[in-house]
Structures are given as C-alpha cells and as structure tokens.
C-alpha cells in the first residue's frame, strides 16, 4: 500500500514539475508579448503627440501594469532630473533594475536595451521607421518562442510523466 501511495506521489510531483515548466514557457511568451505591446504604445505615442520621451513614458506608464509601469516611470523621472548624461545609460540602468524580476534570457535583455541606442537621438521620420523595424524584430523573436513552445510543452509534459515512471521503477 505504501509503495502505491509513494508511486502516486512521485508521479504527481514529476508531472507537476513538467506542468510548471510548461506554464513558465507560456508566461515567458506572455511577457514578451506584453513588452511588445509596451513598445507599440511608445511608438504610437511618439508618432501622435511628438512629445519628449519623459512625457511619452509617463503617458504610456498610465496605461500599463506593474512592473512595466514602475520601469517607465523610473526612466521618465531619471530623464526629468537630468542628473545622468546619455539616454542609453539611463535606459540600461532602469531596464537592469526594474525588468530583472521578469527573468528574461540574456539575448532578450539585450534586445530590450537596444532602444536606448536610438530613442531620442533620431529625427522623427527615422525614429518612426527604426521603431517599426524594432517591433518587427520583436515579432520575429516572439514567433521563434511561439514555435518552440509547442514542442517544448509536449516534451516537458512527457518528460514529467516519464521521469516519474522511471523513478518509480528504480525505487521499486
């Protein structure tokens, strides 16, 4: 009887781990999608209002959820206080500090720091084109993640169950 209960517990735990792994993959995709949404809001706000970046970030921050809101407000405040020279420096510092809890992969962290190199330093038309290209790149990244996610989810679930069975066989 004890062996049966133990086997069920092991199977539940490993299957649960597989499920959590799949959930994390999905959450990661959702985060990427939300960041893409934030950047599209920034692009729209710049194109429509032509307002300076601190105002744009403050306006967009009012329409998005935490921690993205905190991040944009922090960038806006840092730009307003004019204590740090160079937009890229402010942008990178705030991204490191406020987007860290999102647990982005290094290649995606670099991708999100990239706007620091062009936001604000380009003229209106070029900025609009560059932001559009940046959004296209984000779309590609998201597509890549989406493609991988189906296979990874299947593998994650199977591995969860299979590793449970494997453990049960070994332990019995």
């Amino acid at each position: 009887m004890q062996k049966v209960i133990g086997a069920i517990l092991i199977l539940t735990a490993t299957s649960g781990a597989g499920y959590v792994y799949c959930r994390e993959l999905k959450t990661y995709l959702e985060r990427m999608l939300y960041l893409r949404y934030v950047f599209s809001l920034i692009k729209g706000e710049i194109a429509y209002t032509h307002a300076p970046l601190p105002d744009v970030f403050r306006e967009v921050a009012g329409r998005i959820k935490k921690p993205y809101r905190t991040w944009l407000l922090a960038v806006s405040d840092a730009l307003e206080t004019r204590e740090e020279s160079g937009f890229a420096r402010v942008w990178n510092r705030c991204a490191d500090r406020y987007l860290k809890p999102l647990g982005m992969k290094p290649e995606h962290s670099i991708l999100f720091k990239e706007p620091g190199t062009f936001l604000g330093s380009l003229e209106r038309t070029t900025l609009d084109h560059t932001l559009q290209m940046y959004l296209n790149r984000l779309d590609l990244e998201i597509e890549k993640i989406r493609e991988g996610i189906a296979a990874k989810t299947r593998i994650g679930r199977c591995l969860g169950v299979m590793s449970g069975i494997f453990l049960i066989v070994i332990l019995i």
């Binding site: 300076p52 402010v90 900025l127």
Partner: protein, 318 residues
Amino acid sequence: MERSDRREKTGKYEQILGILAKSIRKVIREETDSLDGLQEIRLRTGQPVRIIRDNREKILPSEAEPHIITKEELRETMDYISHFSLYAYENELRQGFLTVEGGHRVGVAGKVIMEKDRIKNIQYISSVNIRISHEVIGCADRLLPYITKNMQVCHTLIISPPCCGKTTLIRDLIRQISDGNQYVKGCSVGVVDERSELGGCYLGIAQNHLGSRTDILDCCPKAEGMIMLIRSMAPQVIAVDEIGTSEDIHAIEYAMQCGCKLIASVHGLDMDEAKKKPVLGEMIRRRMFERYVVLGNGTHPGEIRGIYDERGSVLCRK
C-alpha cells in the same frame, strides 16, 4: 509672500541650471546663486562660458582661467534642453531656437541641413545661447492708461527691436487686462503662444502669471491659433507676440473684424520702419490699430520711447 517669491526664484534658477551640462552648472553655481540681472548664458564649442549680466559680458570662472566648453558638454546640454528627445523639437530647431520650461529661449547654431531648398534641421550644434526670461510684474503699469479707453483695451501694436523687452511687456499687459484694474475691466484674454515664451507652458499649463481669465494655446501657429481661439473660447482680447508673416497679419485683420481687441508685437525700430512692412504697413495706413507703442533699449525691460494713436499723433514720448 517673500518666502514664496524666493522659492519661485530658486526654482527658476534651478530650472536654468538643470538644462546645462553638469560641469557648466558647477561653473555657474560658483559665479552666482540667483538669476538676478542674468540675461544670457552663451556656450560655444572650444570657447569659454560667457554670461551677460546687467548688460555686461563676463567670462567664467575668470578671464585668466576660463572654462573651455567641449563638444561633449554641448551635446550633454542639448540632451538636457531637449529632454533627450531632439525629434520633439524638430520644428523649433528648424527656426533656430527652442523654448524650455519657464519660457527661457534657447538659440542654437550649427550645421544646417537643407532639403528641397528649405531648412530641415540643424546638426552638429556648436553654439547655444540661453536667454533668460524675466517676468517683470508691473512693467506695463505706465503703458496701460494710454492703451485703454472707457475701461476697454484698444487695438495695440508694440514695435520694438530685439532684446528690448516686448515679450515681458506683453506678458504683463495680458496679466493686467485679464485680472482687471482701475484702467481696464477684467476680461477673457486669448493668448497664442507659438514659442511658449509668453506663458512658458509646461504640459500645457502656463508657468508665468498671465491672469485669471487667460486661455492659452501653446506651441500653436499664430494665424491658425487666433482663428481657433475666436471660434472656441470667445476671447475679448487676443494677444500674440512677434507677428511677421502675411498669414499672421490676415488673421489679425480677421480677429479685429470679429469684435476682438488685438495686442500684438512686431520687430522694428520705429513707426516708419513698421509702415514699410508689406502687409502690416497697409494695416497701419488703414488705421486699423488704435495705439502704437515703440520700445527702445533702455535701462529696464519694456522701456517706452513713444506711444502714438491711430493717426500717428504722439500721446507720450520719453
């Protein structure tokens, strides 16, 4: 009251320092702790920091050991001036200047980029001239009795060479007309502030005192703005600074025919010079303005050289 005045002055001082590169801030801070008498801060790449205070130029920190401005310092200053967003000030930069919080005007010079025979932008900015906006409450006190009739404002044109305080004078006129006093009944004033100099608007809210009955259209072209104001806000008085184009002058004519009183300013040395301007000259000949105020470069901003009526007769002369 005194304490709040001091706080306001300190705020404006910090506002000005805030748009300068950190190293230049330090130099200015060592020189002065207030904006009193400070008129201009001139920054040129490879040249010392110069300020103009009480009409006298000074090199900072000293003529013997000047602080030479580097390209990086100027770039940092431009970053701060434009809130790290040069795209947002493209239209202003095309005209060679932009206005920062508090209504201070920043003139720039550098390499001009042309497109189809028109100025597209200014690149490689090598000179920056910060002109400090000074709100002089009460500087229009002397003028108001001459430009009002039966407690109402007359159509008034202020003629002045640059740097003689016409913006400061108009700003105080707007405030007094809007709030009302013994010469004029308080009335709604519409201000078209194309360069954010009159109101010094920040996020659409005037930072200077323009009175309690004033509606302001910030960063709006004058000609369109005047018509918009007439249709939307029904002002009794419309005030605009530095009219120049024929569109501006046609819009003024339209506003006058709509029953609004007009207060405008134009660059010029005297009445004769104003009369020579193509469209404006025609308006003067048709006696559309009821008062002309000619300013001169005196000891204080908005010093009046002469006030004339619609026929050109002298009402007051310095």
